[in-house]
Amino acid sequence: MKNNKPNPLTLLGRRLKNTSRKLTFRPKEAATPASADGATMNAAPLLSDKIKTTINKLTVQTKNVRTYTLFDGTTVLEPFSKTPLIFLILGTLSVISWNVTNINLFYLFSRFSNFFDILWRMTSPRWSYFSTAIGPMLDTIQMSFLGSLIGALLALPVAFLSASNITKNRFVLGSTRFMLSLIRTLPVLVYAAILTLAFGFGVFAGTIAIILFTFGILSKMMYENIETVDLGAYGAIEATGASKPKAFVTAIFPQIMPSYLSYSLYSFEINIRYAAILGYVGAGGIGLLFDDRMAWRRYQDVAILIIMLFVVVFTIENISRYLRKRLS
């Protein structure tokens, strides 16, 4: 709510709001209970304001609401807690989802031992499978490396196009942002499935899918970052007589470079995980083996794949985390 003159009471109220028990205020001199709220309402009250006012009215009409009197004589009401309402909504949604998804607890408990059975068989990995799996694993790393690199390179110019402080043209801004959010909605696996139909099975389709995914998320992270950049330095350098591109490179780049590199490394980290499943739709890498070994119930081989994936992800995550710490 917009309040032109900060009422000392509201200021105090804000401070009290931060304590563990939240309180709402009703100034003592207020004639009608809701007028404290009503006074600040503009001509066309928002729906949320209307709801708030109604709740306040109800709160006051209910006699058994706890009231507190402060040192300066102001009465303070304990507000209705929203928690029961939230729990009610969550509960209703859960019941609906429960019915939709046909959850059968009896079935779960009677057959859950199968899950541990599979896990148990994974505890004795068949080490000789390693030599077969190493090739696809390297493919997975190569796919995600190249995908992240190209995706990151493509993301930077588009991020500038969709940053509201750099691009002033609203049409360009809106259309690039809309395109980016469209790209981000579809899962990588769907891209991979479409691309394998177009380019045939293999690593190429997977790499393109990773490029698209990296491009989508990195552009968004970067334009949000670029919007926080301090443009003062840019203006200052331009004022010394530097050309626009030169001012851009000297003033803006150093500000965004560390986060750009750090986000790129981060997307490489997550891409390894995604690349590992792309093989499921035939887009190359270790995912194909996962599918195959699971279908044949060779859990000892699946264990090898998981161990390999774990080692690779762990190594890359730690290298990347170390580099990102150095960057910041």
């Binding site: 429960w98 796919m143 177009a198 499921y280 996962f290």
Partner: protein, 272 residues
């Protein structure tokens, strides 16, 4: 006081990054070459281009019968099932992650137990969502039920990690202050700990829900319910209009959920 330097001397005194830059370029370059060698670019075949063109064309003209029907095969019903899987999975994951997070927080249990907790979370995280899905299909049989279990287990990793961060950030002063007023343990948890964590927890869970909806859209590929099976089935049969209808279903639902989730999380962050 240090003697004043000219601009040139100042520039010379800057730390030298040449070695780092050269090394980075060398490493990046060699990795690129190594990766390029593995990826053979397929010769542009007519079939591929036709397929991409027909997919794009049918995105503009999806199968409307599927998109706007409430029959079980229709997209709305399937997306509803997908969102339900994600919703229950998120709740399951949130409940499972809570005790794990308290165990893994260094300021609650100490070094040893937090290490064990984090190790087990890392182990769970290593399983790709797909493999978990395939495993649960073996346990509960194909269907959305397997999807719920998969999403629940797959959410544990990230949720625990985010929970641990907020638990380790707890301001102990509040608890000491409550101690001083004579509060008992239950009151300390109710008034000292829950208010500090709830906003963060809710925000993380909503964020994970957003990710889970995306994950649930592809779980159908392994037979764990949701829209994925329809999509893959339509695509492998080259029925682009049906596939496009499924794609629109995913796009619309994901965008709406992302919008709502961002709104709620922004509100939670500002009310802190």
């Amino acid at each position: 006081m240090e003697k004043k330097l000219t601009v040139k001397e100042m520039l010379d005194k800057q730390p030298k990054h040449h070695l780092t830059i050269v090394l980075t370029i060398l490493i990046l370059g060699s990795m690129t070459l190594w990766s390029m060698a593995a990826i053979s670019i397929p010769s542009t075949n007519e079939g591929g281009i036709t397929i991409i063109r027909s997919i794009l064309r049918s995105l503009a003209d999806p199968n409307r019968d599927w998109l706007f029907t409430l029959r079980p095969i229709g997209i709305p019903r399937q997306m509803f099932e997908t969102v339900s899987i994600a919703f229950l999975g998120t709740i399951l994951g949130a409940i499972l992650a809570l005790p794990l997070a308290f165990v893994s927080s260094r300021n609650i249990t100490g070094r040893l137990y937090s290490f064990i907790g984090i190790l087990s979370v890392t182990l769970i995280r290593t399983f790709p969502v797909f493999v978990l899905g395939l495993m649960f299909v073996r346990v509960t049989g194909p269907g959305p039920f397997a999807g719920v279990m998969t999403i629940g287990l797959a959410s544990i990793g990230m949720m625990t990690k985010l929970y641990v961060e907020s638990i380790e950030d707890i301001d102990k002063g509040v608890i000491e202050a409550l101690d001083a007023t004579g509060a008992n343990t239950l009151q300390k948890i109710r008034y000292g700990i829950i208010p500090q964590l709830s906003a963060n927890f809710i925000s993380n869970s909503i964020y994970r829900f957003e990710i889970n909806v995306r994950n649930a859209t592809i779980l159908g590929l392994v037979g764990a319910g949701g829209i994925g099976s329809t999509l893959i089935w339509a695509m492998s049969a080259y029925r682009w209009k049906d596939a496009a209808a499924a794609l629109w279903g995913i796009i619309i639902v994901v965008l709406v959920i992302e919008f709502i989730s961002t709104r709620i999380r922004r509100k939670l962050a500002s009310s802190d």
